[in-house]
């Protein structure tokens, strides 16, 4: 039971795994690069599909992991492979010898300014899904006019399903996030017209389709099938969006007070850095490569190194938590075989 277990990344995956490992009698070590725990979920407001407050989820996970050794503001400087273990050198000067590493480094939100045609960072009225969550949390964003928005648009698949943006993958969570955020905006501004520009609506999860039906039936959100091709600004600072309404086969344009870009989930460059240090392979989608994408998603190809959460691809919160629990059990069994 004295074996060191190093968890790299203190997002929800790392926290949940730590909580489970503590329950199994281990004393895991969490290494978190930023100054706080919770990862991306700590930035969100309410979570689909039940609008659970994100801070409750994160708060519970942090409470369950307090007994772990937690290093904030800490990165991995380098890793030396020893005979049957790893020597991990941290940026705070501490070094740890361990046989078991759990990688929970998560994802990055696609940098929407790379899609220049959408004008993020150029036009004032263009924001991202992350900015909107931030506004739901803080009410603080000068780009959002609380008292007088006629029309708001959501652009799906920003930096996803886009070979030019080097991310041909579907990010999976942004369709449902768009629907969720569209409803939340409509609840705050019932008079505002809300449009979603989509290519496909991928409502794969439990109760997601109900969300979509509710968005249509109860909130009158208008879904327009067509990818936004370009965005421009007019004289009074509103944005003009052009797309093809592919259901009618006609070009469509609309002037909006706010445009929300659904930036996708891409591999975190910090994950790749860690992967390079321990010679872990990268999959063709840019995320960390599992031993097997069907049966062994939480196993890396190397003995003693495991994954959980969005470091291996886009995941929802429940999927991430399930993987973290599975990884904790896997580590427990692995540790027994070593004895």
């Amino acid at each position: 039971m004295k074996e060191n277990i190093v968890i790299i990344g203190g997002g929800i995956a790392g926290l949940e795994a730590a909580g489970q490992l503590l329950g199994l009698g281990y004393k895991p070590i969490i290494i978190e690069k930023s100054d706080r725990l919770g990862g991306h979920v700590a930035d969100w407001n309410c979570l689909f599909p039940d609008m659970t407050p994100a801070k409750d989820v994160v708060g519970r996970l942090i409470a369950g992991a307090t007994e772990a050794n937690i290093f904030l503001n800490t990165e991995i400087s380098f890793v030396n492979k020893l005979k049957d273990s790893y020597n991990i050198m941290l940026s705070n000067g501490i070094s740890i010898i361990t046989k078991i590493i759990l990688v929970t480094t998560g994802f990055s939100v696609f940098d929407a300014s790379k899609k220049e045609e959408y004008g993020y960072g150029v036009y004032d009225q263009v924001i991202t899904n992350r900015d909107l969550e931030h506004w739901f949390n803080t009410g603080n964003d000068r780009r959002i006019d609380d008292c007088g928005m006629n029309a708001v648009g959501f652009v799906h698949c920003v930096g996803s399903r886009d070979e030019k943006a080097k991310n041909p993958q579907c990010s999976k969570v942004c369709c449902i996030t768009a629907v969720k955020q569209a409803i939340e905006l409509k609840q705050k501004f019932p008079e505002t017209m809300v449009y979603c520009f989509y290519m496909d609506l991928r409502m794969f999860g439990k109760k997601y389709e109900d969300f979509y039906i509710g968005a249509q039936r109860d909130y009158g959100i208008r879904f327009i099938r067509g990818r936004v091709s370009e965005v421009s600004e007019n004289i009074d600072g509103r944005v003009i969006v052009k797309a093809e309404d592919t259901l009618s086969g006609k070009p469509v344009k609309v002037t909006l007070d706010l445009l929300v870009l659904m930036a996708g989930m891409v591999c975190n460059p910090d994950s790749t850095k860690v992967a390079n240090m321990i010679s872990l392979p990268i999959d063709s989608d840019g995320f960390l490569k599992s031993r097997d994408n069907v049966a062994d998603i939480i196993d890396s190809p190397k003995d003693g190194i495991f994954y959980a959460g969005a470091c291996t691809g886009p995941k929802t919160v429940p999927e991430t938590l399930a993987e973290a629990r599975a990884a904790a059990l896997k580590i427990h069994l692995y540790n027994k075989t070593m004895q």
């Binding site: 029309a151 449009y195 979509y212 039906i213 249509q216 039936r217 009158g220 208008r222 099938r225 370009e230 052009k242 309404d245 259901l247 009618s248 006609k250 070009p251 469509v252 344009k253 609309v254 002037t255």
Partner: protein
């Protein structure tokens, strides 16, 4: 208005200018009209579609895009057989919807 890639200016849809008053009136009578997911089941089963191009999917879409004229000419061919209602997976009573559309859009329809 310069549309950038205009083919025929009349076919382009400018959502800023769409008058939604009648569609909202329709929505008050037929709340389910918002639920259409454009699956096309209604159109493929419609006996009038083959010879006239009648399409319930297109009717609902055109009303939301301010293309009411297209709707009126399409709807003339509906026989009110109700097959579209039978197949709609979103449970929209399309036959009833058609009657309501006629009521609301008739006066200046033509």
């Amino acid at each position: 208005m310069d549309f950038g890639f205009k083919i025929s200016p009349s076919s382009a849809i400018n959502l800023d200018n769409v008058d939604t008053v009648k569609f909202e009136q329709l929505h008050d009578m037929e709340p389910d009209v918002y639920k259409c997911m454009a699956c096309g089941s209604c159109t493929s089963t419609c006996p009038a579609n083959r010879f006239s191009g009648m399409s319930m999917r297109k009717v609902i879409l055109a009303l939301q895009r301010g293309k009411e004229k297209d709707v009126v000419s399409m709807m003339r061919n509906c026989m009110l057989c109700g097959k579209c209602t039978m197949v709609c997976p979103r449970g929209i009573n399309t036959r009833h919807l058609i009657l309501s559309i006629c009521r609301i859009y008739r006066e200046d329809g033509k």
